[in-house]
Symmetry: C2
Subunit: 472 residues, 2 copies
């Protein structure tokens, strides 16, 4: 039992929330925590609440689950605030991309060298940046000792923004580093040491050895040019030709979403994307790959809704698990998820709850965190967030010494950091002239007239949506 | 009288050499110096020699003039080596630009954001970079205490390259900062204090005050939007709409060739250039402006040749001066130049000779120098050359405290520095894959196939020309 208050903002993201809740249920020392789920979508929030209570019941975790649409209630007195919310949701992403494409900017203006992930806007997401700051400033006021754990994208810009504009304790989390497993599977090792480092969605395999220190990169090299990559889904790109080509150029293997994030060389058009990321989708960030993803998301909402309704009507998660083989309509991914959620031995893989446990109960664990650099990785500006391996125990965080080669620093990190800083300055000053300067340098721009028309149509919308966040 | 040995590499650039020689003639303490003129173009070198001797005679400067095509002879035992040579000459510039344009790269691939000056290549000038290093390494060997004064472009990359790759004493010189006068003339002040800083061809008016410290920027502001700019020649751009637009965006006035060096916004095509730099040329770096310039250069060679021949046949510079009003074919610029060369009270404005005098004779003077940063200007990487105001007396150089605003640092200097570093790395490693990465991100690139074809045609030529420099 404890007196922890843990808030989840954007809890309508049911799968993420279930993973967090089930992790909480499986950590005995976090039993009894007060969990406040917040979302502005009441229907989805309600479903999450039902499932959360059911999970707590199954595990006897005695969580005190509360749902609210009021952000103050989540934050006031919280010990940890997890944010997974996406301001404006997918319809916002669609809209800004649509306006961009109308003016000649394929995949929207946020698609830029070193930043192609489709829900990782940094030029048009003034609503999302405003939400980050709103939460952070509310934490400063109502829960100044709380940790703010940000899962919402863009983690790089978001962590940088909040860490430089407020004084709260913050860490950004992503799970891209799990993709190291793909490389381990490729070369057939089960036990290995690894390290990644860089900036979020721009991380590199800085260490990959056997347990007794033998470098495993030569093992990877044996597969160079020998893999026939056939992606099983649009996100299956860790061994795609892009990853190998990036490895060849940058000298280290790019890990996780980094593979989605290099230059226009791989993204110029659908044909190019298909060539590099594989048929039929051309990667997660093509028009086809992203459509696939969004359809999955809508399916998830529907299935969650069905689960929640069934549970409300008396079904239990145990029964769901026992009778899943009678549900031919349920995809394997879902069956696996239910099995994992209910497997008391298995954590979700999200880092948030183990991090909370390590901070609260002092259990030393290794994490991949996003925190402001301040000298942690040489060659990267001090005032931006790095993604780095760290050992956490209580409030003590030890960062692993992480070395990135000059090629990665000068040909990837520096231009990426520059883009982030310029994007954040444009947001902080609400200055579309700065955005225009970026777009003037964009390869898709044919004239200043085009830039002007784009800005004139896009930014009134961006600003209106931002105001909704600020004023609500 | 003294024992100084001063070498000029690229002395076939007769106008530049005459300015240097006449300055030497006018500095009594440098009288008697041994001046070695070197060029690979023997005819032009011979003309320079004739004119140099004539200048020395006119002033009774007793310079010991020597001409040679052998670089060792210039450098061996020299105290100062001035380099103004352009490897490959204008035909090289034409050729690489032509290949670039053939593959769809308007004004050649070296034209990039923040680098549009047409004889300021940094991607295709491996011959020029090799020449810089060849000279510097020869100085290391044969004249280790000599100062290397580089006038040849690219001064930014060249100074950075030589300063990081060799241990010689080096300074890069440009005269862009004289353009401050245009602003002084505009607002009608004759006495004023000024300071510029940044990187070569990327310098900014960091101080502009009356002699008693009153800021003169508000005086400039009065002319904002009120100037009808009609350029008198393609280089007349200090008060062009570009300069004002850059001032508006970057917050400081761009000085000299900086105005030629911002983004594609001003350079996208001839029409755009004309709109920003003015009719009829569209600035110095358009196809029209550059043609004008090259024609001037050829005219200069011809006039120099006529002068030299006449002097060889017994005419004197004094007589030329006295009878210039009888030469209707001689343009005013030339008449002014002859008058200035012969005016014992007036120095050319080139900084080289005053710098030599300050170093040798300890006369403290102010210069605008290009030297490796190492903390001189905050916000700029330590390992690149900055252009900065400095006071020189003997070997002692005091750099003025120079502050650039974040807008200039983050939106101009940083991307410019990144380009320089990437370009220099490509050269040092002779790695066309690095060039390809830059070109993949270029707005003119439509496909990787285009990049490949460009590189395949361009770089065998670039490398062959480089080898000529290395092997000769």
């Amino acid at each position: 039992m404890n007196n922890l208050k843990i808030g989840i903002i954007g809890a309508g993201s049911a799968v993420f929330s279930m993973r967090i809740i089930s992790d909480l249920c499986k950590m005995p020392k976090l039993s009894g925590s007060h969990v406040v789920l917040m979302d502005i979508d009441e229907a989805r929030l309600r479903n999450t609440g039902i499932l959360a209570n059911e999970l707590s019941r199954v595990f006897g975790a005695n969580l005190k689950i509360e749902t609210t649409t009021d952000m103050t209630k989540v934050i006031d007195g919280a010990d940890f605030v997890i944010n997974t919310a996406m301001a404006g949701g997918h319809s916002y992403l669609d809209k800004v991309r649509e306006i961009g494409e109308k003016h000649g900017y394929y995949r929207g203006i946020d698609a830029q060298n070193y930043n192609f992930v489709s829900d990782y806007l940094n030029l048009t997401n003034w609503n999302q940046f405003s939400l980050f700051l709103k939460i952070a400033k509310m934490i400063e006021k109502f829960a100044p000792n709380a940790w703010y754990l940000q899962a919402a994208n863009p983690v790089f810009e978001g962590t940088t923004l909040v860490s430089t504009q407020t004084s709260i304790k913050m860490v950004g989390f992503c799970h891209g580093h799990y993709a190291v497993e793909s490389l381990a599977n490729l070369i057939g090792v089960k036990e290995y040491d690894w390290q990644v480092g860089g900036v979020n969605h721009g991380i590199w395999l800085t260490k990959f050895t056997t347990k007794d220190g033998k470098d495993l990169y030569p093992e990877i090299d044996k597969y160079k040019g020998k893999i026939q990559h056939k992606p099983s889904n649009p996100f299956d790109d860790q061994l795609s030709p892009v990853a190998w080509d990036m490895y060849d150029f940058y000298g280290l293997f790019p890990i996780g979403d980094t593979v989605r994030n290099s230059t226009w060389k791989y993204h110029r058009d659908l044909e190019t994307k298909k060539r590099w990321y594989g048929e039929p989708w051309g990667g997660a960030d093509s028009e086809l790959g992203w459509k696939w993803y969004v359809e999955q998301l809508y399916k998830v909402v529907e299935i969650i809704n069905q689960f929640a309704t069934a549970i409300e009507n008396g079904l239990t998660l145990e029964k769901v698990k026992d009778s899943m083989n009678l549900m031919p309509w349920l995809e394997d991914d879902w069956k696996n998820m239910v099995n994992e959620l209910l497997d008391s031995e298995k954590l979700s893989g999200e880092q948030h709850v183990p991090f909370i446990d390590s901070v609260v109960n002092g259990t030393k664990r290794r994490f991949v965190v996003n925190m402001i650099n301040k000298g942690k990785i040489k060659g990267i500006d001090d005032d931006v967030a790095v993604e780095i391996c760290a050992w956490v125990s209580g409030e003590n965080i030890e960062f692993e010494e992480t070395h990135l080669p000059e090629r990665v620093i000068n040909w990837y990190i520096k231009p990426r950091v520059l883009l982030a800083k310029q994007a954040l300055e444009a947001f902080l000053k609400k200055d579309t002239k700065l955005v225009a300067d970026i777009i003037e340098r964009d390869w898709r721009t044919k004239s200043s007239e085009q830039v002007k028309k784009l800005i004139d149509e896009l930014y009134p919308f961006v600003i209106a949506e931002m105001k909704k966040i600020i004023e609500n």
